[in-house]
């Protein structure tokens, strides 16, 4: 049953990765505006990928 310790450690690590991913997503501003990108993606030409876009 010692394998439980490994499993628990693994599950928490995986979960933590997702938590960190979420925190990173909030920090990088993906939650600031949840409407405009949905419209932007439908424009035919792409806006030039400049410094602003890299942030996302």
């Amino acid at each position: 049953m010692e394998v439980m310790f490994i499993l628990i450690g693994a599950s928490i690590t995986v979960a933590s990765v997702f938590l960190l991913a979420f925190i990173w997503a909030v920090k990088s501003g993906q939650y600031d505006d949840r409407y405009t990108p949905s419209v932007r993606i439908l424009f035919e030409e792409n806006t030039p990928a400049k410094s602003e876009n890299k942030k996302l």
């Binding site: 939650y31 600031d32 505006d33 949840r34 409407y35 405009t36 419209v39 030409e45 602003e52």
Partner: protein, 803 residues
């Protein structure tokens, strides 16, 4: 296709979708004005016509938005530096707030600015915040040019220096997201570790139990100390001020579960309730997020709309024009008359300033200022006309703030409002129920006792109750704002709903002086005499003086000495070495001739020069449109009175409209009006005063609710509770009734949320409701009550055609 049909049946502008008064054709398309055509041309040349295919008629009508506004003040380095977010030799980053953003075409155009102007490197839009973030080449263009580019295509940026300090909000929202993320993470993992307990394997080995218990504590600690911190802070702040707020029972519940669970795990007594605790906080936070989002949406529209229409007289090329206050820029020469408010910090150029700063400081003794001195925004001139040069940009938010200044809080506002009272009692009752139920179960089963105690606290939390009020009220305020009826704060709605008597001011309120017909009878006035009279009436804010002032076209001005205004009588002063008196016959003739009462439907303003009667101006009074209907609907359940500072010429006309039982008083001085309202209030009447906002400031302040009716030219008076656009005067009764409806909606929402509470409590005290279910139910109830309140206000507003 319905789109095409529309175009065929009615001439509609291809750009903005407005009806075309004049038809301008370009590229086989119809435009309503040269401005719209110019924008189309620009987009066409730059191959940006997808703008028109994303939405139909997405453009902004340039006639209304006033395109081509100059942003000269942005050339000022200091001003620019306050707006620019980042700048180096190559690029500059800036963000503008653009209220006119409204559809996906707007996003399209604003994000393709670089095609129109190659100095723009890149632009990004935030639709929800109505902001555009622009990066441009520092050397090739300037902030002013960028702002003008936006304004030329119909997206005029609203630049308000104070906006910049408002960046706190996204940070708070970000924090909430972090908290939700962490709470969700901990909640999920704790659930996982609690599974053995749920499934109650009898033979879990002790060291696993230990491990899971301590892991749970570890995971619960950040939730308890970080995610739930706002509740503790708010409860603590409330208690510090000896005020039990809604977060007290929640914090208490959370603290009890946490301590109890830690105790159980450490003592090896049980597994604790960490799953309930973290789940509770997770769901509470999600509820909070939804509330914030909804409230922001309501607020956004309100904040923008609630910039009431103040305007100011500007001197340009020796002629006077009125412009909206937000168009006022540094360097403008402005004219401030007796009783008007100074909209921006300025330097005194002409006139004897005698400024009352009571709106700002509370000190009412006027301060004298001489030529060259600085006068600060918010002061109010008493006496002569002033000519000022604006030295700092106007901050509308500052004026709005002034309107909400403590000094103008009416005494009654300090008393608790409906909402506060209910919330307070409710918290106490909840606490009592929780303690009793907890104590009852304590003898039988300590586990159930803790469960019951926390479940009661959580389910009965009056959040829904506390939310219904603010949401319904701010939605109503938003609806009123859309109808040109601007309220000072949401508290005014409650007051409006209780009104049972209404006092009208006459001139400028129920009669319309602007554009009224004016003629002069008597000895002919020479040009210089006209100019002298103009110089004198210029000082007065009385509607009739303003009308005479507007009618005299001759230019040129005389110095004025010994100006004095006699409320209800007239004005006098020495201009160009002649002493003039302008006002009622009795006043002008120094009491020798009594006022004649023969003439109807008109006001006569007499003029005397050096004690000799010259003649009179006859100004035909027009009653405001819809006055008849308004009065007859108001008379049904309210007592009406008319107070007038002028003569009683019109008594007959007025009584035809108002009926005989209406109290009508004439020759009323401002103090008389105030006393009259006081007398009514002593009879425990709730009085609504409707005036022009200047000559009856005292009465407006004394009344339970004071409404200032304004033409486009308004004099800002902080003493009123609401500003009503004069064209909406006839709808007054609709607004009053709608306030009543709103209060009823709030009561209904209370009843609705009580229902939740009773059902929840019924199960909670029996110990059959786990705190986790309660934690899910609670945000659900809050959100449904909020939606209920918003939906109903919108519904009734639509029925009354307010939306």
């Amino acid at each position: 296709m319905p789109k095409q049909q529309e175009i065929l049946t009615k001439p509609i502008c291809y750009h903005c979708g407005e009806d075309c008064a004049e038809e301008i054709f370009y590229d086989e398309k119809l435009f309503c004005c040269a401005g719209c055509k110019a924008v189309y041309e620009l987009l066409f040349q730059n191959n940006l016509c997808s703008y028109y295919s994303l939405e139909t008629h997405p453009g902004i009508n340039l006639k209304e938005s006033g395109a081509g506004i100059k942003f000269n003040y942005l050339d000022d380095k200091e001003t620019a530096s306050r707006i620019i977010e980042f700048s180096n030799d190559e690029i500059t980053k800036v963000s503008f707030y653009i209220p006119t953003i409204h559809c996906s075409s707007c996003i399209y155009l604003l994000e393709h600015l670089y095609k129109i102007d190659h100095t723009v490197v890149n632009s990004k839009t935030d639709f929800t915040q109505k902001k555009v973030f622009i990066t441009y080449k520092t050397k090739e263009t300037s902030l002013r040019k960028v702002a003008e580019l936006l304004s030329n295509i119909g997206y005029e940026p609203a630049i308000n220096i104070d906006d910049l300090t408002e960046n706190e909000k996204p940070k708070i929202l970000k924090k909430l997201y972090y908290k939700i993320g962490i709470a969700g993470f901990c909640f999920g993992n704790i659930m996982l570790f609690s599974f053995p307990e749920y499934l109650s394997f009898g033979n879990i080995e002790t060291y696993y139990k230990f491990l899971f218990g301590y892991l749970n504590i570890l995971l619960a600690v950040p939730v308890f100390f970080y995610c739930a911190s706002d509740y503790f802070k708010s409860a603590y702040l409330g208690l510090k001020q000896k005020h039990i707020n809604l977060d007290v029972p929640i914090s208490l519940g959370i603290a009890v579960i946490f301590l109890r669970s830690v105790f159980e795990v450490v003592s090896g007594f049980g597994a604790g309730y960490f799953d309930s605790l973290t789940g509770l906080i997770f769901f509470l936070l999600i509820g909070k997020l939804i509330q914030t989002k909804t409230f922001d949406f309501l607020n956004f529209e309100r904040n923008y709309k609630s910039y009431f229409p103040i305007s100011v007289t500007v001197l340009k090329n020796k002629s006077e024009t009125t412009i909206p206050i937000n168009k006022l820029v540094k360097g403008d020469r402005i004219i401030i008359r007796n009783g008007e408010l100074i909209p921006a910090d300025s330097i005194l150029f002409k006139g004897n300033a005698n400024i009352d700063y009571s709106f700002v400081t509370g000190e009412s003794t006027p301060v004298e200022k001489v030529f060259g001195e600085i006068v600060y925004a918010g002061g109010r001139q008493e006496g002569d006309v002033l000519e000022l040069e604006v030295i700092r940009d106007v901050s509308q938010s500052y004026l709005t703030q002034l309107w909400n200044n403590e000094a103008f809080k009416k005494a009654e506002e300090q008393k608790n409002k409906l909402n506060d009272v209910i919330a307070k009692y409710f918290t106490f009752i909840t606490l009592a129920v929780a303690l009793t139920a907890g104590a009852f179960w304590l003898n039988k089963d300590i586990k159930i006792a803790v469960n019951v105690f926390t479940a009661v606290l959580v389910i009965a939390c009056p959040c829904a109750l506390a939310l219904a009020g603010p949401f319904a009220l701010s939605n109503t305020m938003r609806i009123f704002g859309k109808n040109n009826f601007y309220l000072k704060n949401t508290g005014v709605i409650e007051k409006l709903s209780k009104i049972d008597s209404i006092v009208f001011d006459k001139t400028g309120t129920i009669t319309q002086v602007k554009n009224a017909e004016l003629s002069y009878y008597g000895n002919l006035l020479s040009n210089s005499e006209l100019m002298e009279i103009k110089s004198l009436v210029k000082n007065s804010t009385h509607p009739l003086s303003r009308r005479i002032y507007e009618s005299i076209k001759s230019d040129g001005e005389f110095t004025l000495e010994n100006y004095k205004e006699f409320p209800g009588k007239g004005i006098k002063g020495i201009t160009g070495q002649n002493e003039y008196k302008i006002g009622t016959l009795e006043f002008v003739s120094a009491g020798e001739i009594k006022n004649d009462e023969s003439e109807n439907k008109a006001s006569k303003v007499y003029v005397s020069k050096n004690g000799k009667l010259k003649g009179y101006f006859l100004i035909l009074n027009y009653f405001r449109k819809g006055l008849n209907e308004l009065v007859s609907s108001l008379r049904e359940d309210k007592t009406l009175s008319v107070l007038s500072g002028d003569n009683d010429n019109e008594k007959e006309n007025l009584s035809q409209i108002f009926g005989d039982e209406t109290d009508m008083r004439f020759y009323q001085k401002p103090e008389d009006k105030l006393d009259y309202i006081k007398a009514l209030q002593e009879k425990s009447k709730k009085v609504l005063m409707i005036g022009d906002g200047l000559n009856d400031a005292g009465a407006l302040k004394q009344s339970d609710a004071g409404i200032a009716v304004t033409e486009s030219v308004t004099c800002f008076s902080p003493s009123c509770d609401a500003i009503l656009g004069s064209e909406k005067f006839r709808d007054l009764n609709t607004y009053l009734n709608f306030s009543k409806t709103t209060m009823n909606i709030i009561k209904a929402s209370f009843a609705f949320s009580m229902l939740y509470n009773f059902v929840g409590l019924f199960y909670a005290v029996q110990g059959t409701l786990s705190p986790i279910v309660a934690a899910i139910l609670m945000p659900v109830s809050s959100i449904s009550v909020v939606l209920f309140a918003i939906f109903l206000t919108d519904f009734f507003a639509k029925r009354r055609k307010l939306l």
